[in-house]
Amino acid sequence: MNMKKALIVLIIGVLLGVLFINKSFLLMIFSLVLIYAIAATGLNIVSGFTGQVSIGHGAFMAVGAYTTAAMAMDFGTPFYINILAAIVLAAFLGFLIGLPALRLKGFYLAIATMAFGVAVEQLFAAIEHFGGHIGMRNIPRFFESDFYIYLLNLVFFVVLTYVASLILHSPVGEKYKMVRDSEVAARAYGIKPSRIKLNAFIVSAIYGGIAGALYSHTVGYISPPDFGMNTSLNLLSMIVIGGMASLEGGMIGSIIITGLPFLFSRGNIPMTLIFGALLIVFVLFFPQGIAYGLKLLSMKYLGRPWALLVRKSWSRRAEDGKYVTVNGKKIFYRQQGNGPAIVMIHGNFGSHRWYEKVSSIEGYTTYIPDLVNFGKSDRIDNVSIDTYADFVKGFMDQLKIEKAVVVGHSLGGAVSMSLAFRYPQLVSKLVLVDSAPVNGLVTPEENFPVLEMMKGNVSLLRNSLKGIMPACEDQKILSEVVKDALLMKDECFSENARALSRYDYTELAERYKNPVLFILGKKDMLITHDMAENTLKNLNGRLEVLDHVGHSVILEDSQLFKKLLINFVNL
């Protein structure tokens, strides 16, 4: 959450308050939702982000609530002093309960925190001065008006959430996550897990304390069970349902757990039953909670209309080039210059445009098609590297190109290998630019959902493409190739990647005797040095490694690529 987002939340919150300004019952619920969201956010810091499940967090609220209530009633001190005292006491208590946490993990920690929660509840119930089991009444409220109370809680919520996001993005926050993911690994980085856990407990306790203090002066009366086991379990439910390790999780959970009961207030179903069931359902089926689901949904669908719009208008744009029909399918291509032929084949998510800056090679004719299923060419059903290669062969036959230097980038590399190895007579020389390796390229299964999402999310697509051309500084061409990528056939977002895992030309490669040049960017995150060497194992080839570029030298340093290409073809 950045400053801008915080302000937006604040404004929306205020508008919501204004909308219901006369419904003090609703404003009261809103206030409670905010207060529990603060406490849940605190719990999320220690449980979600640092991995220390606590089921006694109600105790911190109790300390905050009782401290400020007692000070206000006994000494009449103002709230800002009381809340400071509440913070100090809560922090101290957080420190105390954090101490056993240094040695305890998992279930043992859960027992300790549960015992702690109940112990604090019982302690307050045993103290006469605090009203024992009955609790304290007539605590001065912040303001007469529920609206102002709501606004105050809103401000606290926004500021505390903002602070939480600052903490979580700071070095300390990073350490929280490292401790959660692996204490052993964290130690290897010189982090002391015990210190970090203690830190998280204290921060988390402070959030609980503040929430308790707000509760006192918002509701006006407190009693021990308000902060007992049930509250602790509810807080845990909030972050599990809302989303562990998500800043929004606390708020979403609080809306459901604090808000839901008012929907059911007339029914006879006890809330514990519903929350318990929700808790189990979420752990079993949606362990990442609602926040994650919402994020995924917005990634998938929110950008979709925009992506469609971009795609539609882009596909209508007239493009400078020609068409040729192969096997009944139209193939778009650009042709430039005079002389022997060079055919350039683009990669996955690509188009002819990727070669735009290297299309004029003196003394040669360059032919740069959009592969079928890409760009402005027609669609076919069978997605496989060999089929793509067959269309390139058809393309060359139609244009009467008997022999050509073939350049292939990435997936295009695989296509040109398929072409060269199966029809060696057509390919006089082969240039592989960060090509998929000779034995196929497997995309990890967990990446496919992301590939699918790119269809409907322009910025995701843009970031991904930018990631594979780290040295490219031309923003214009970047935004154009992003739009070109959107023109790809829908199914191909996943299917092309799958096609790349389904071939193995290791043995075929021995049939190709002509020279091969493999150009590899050192910063390439998809194609490794081993893959390149393995590809060249059975070929008459040479590997050229470029230090300063990533997966796409043709866009990242087109001049250098041109030079390498010209040297190679003129050899």
């Binding site: 991995g51 499940v53 089921i55 309960i97 101490l99 056993p100 040695r103 305890l104 993990k105 998992g106 279930f107 043992y108 859960a110 027992i111 300790a112 549960m114 015992a115 702690f116 109940v118 112990a119 019982q122 302690l123 119930a125 045993a126 086991m229 379990l233 845990l236 439910s237 599990v240 006879n268 179903i269 006890p270 809330m271 514990t272 039953l273 519903i274 929350f275 318990g276 069931a277 929700l278 808790l279 189990i280 752990v283 079993l284 362990p287």
Partner: protein
Amino acid sequence: MLILQSIILGIPQGALYGLMAFGISLIFRTVGVMNFSHGNAGMFSAFIALTVFLLTQNLLLAILCAVIFGILLGFLIEKFLMRPVKHLSHGGMLIITLGILMILEGLAQIIWGVNPFSFNELVSGPPLMFTLGEDGLLILPLNDLLITVISLGITILLAVFLKVTKVGIAIRARSQDEVGSKVVGINTNMIDGLVWGIGISLSALVGVLIAPKTTVTPTMMMNMQLYGFTAGVLGGFTSLYGSILGGIILGILEKIVGIYISPDYQLTIILLIIILMLAFKPSGLFAKKFEGRV
């Protein structure tokens, strides 16, 4: 004198805590889950006993039904809720048991409401009295005596079961090495279900035995579960017999605090013991080193 009386009153109470801890430890040792729904599973079983009793007026049948229900409930929890997450995450398992805790409480509220029901003692009658020295008089209620006998009897029975029967040894084998127990042909899912069943039936037994004192309500076992955990912590969860001993120590300690300090602070002080124990000697009073599962 007072101290002797606290011990006498503390032992029956402590025996129940021990039984509670025994069940929790058994599940924890074998399956690796700390069962936070243990108390409420017993509470729910006590309601079953209550219902059977109200229908038949037969106390023994009621208790039997509760225990059988406990076994069944344990099997069901293992099969449908714990098995899917068994190897996924400790956090997940923990949260599921908390979910069960809440569901059982809610269900009990729907079915039986929140008003307390009274429940009969096993035996009634004048307590046993012993005179000691000049003016010392020790009181031991008959029901308490019976509770102690039953608790210790069950413990010994289970100990023998675990020690000599084939299935008992298989349970211990499973608790030590899951892969090892699989490859010798032990049906680990069945063993896990059985362990859950035994564990929860113990809680059911505790539920019906304590019911005359607490009355039967949806929250009757909340404190009992905490005491069970405390006893387990004292005994060290990895030692089953430590649990019983831990329970009895706890029971006596509780009475002493109640008599010498104030009943109001009983629970708080006991809970502080848990936290201190966990902080400084998580292996329990009797174990040499901490080898607990997390």
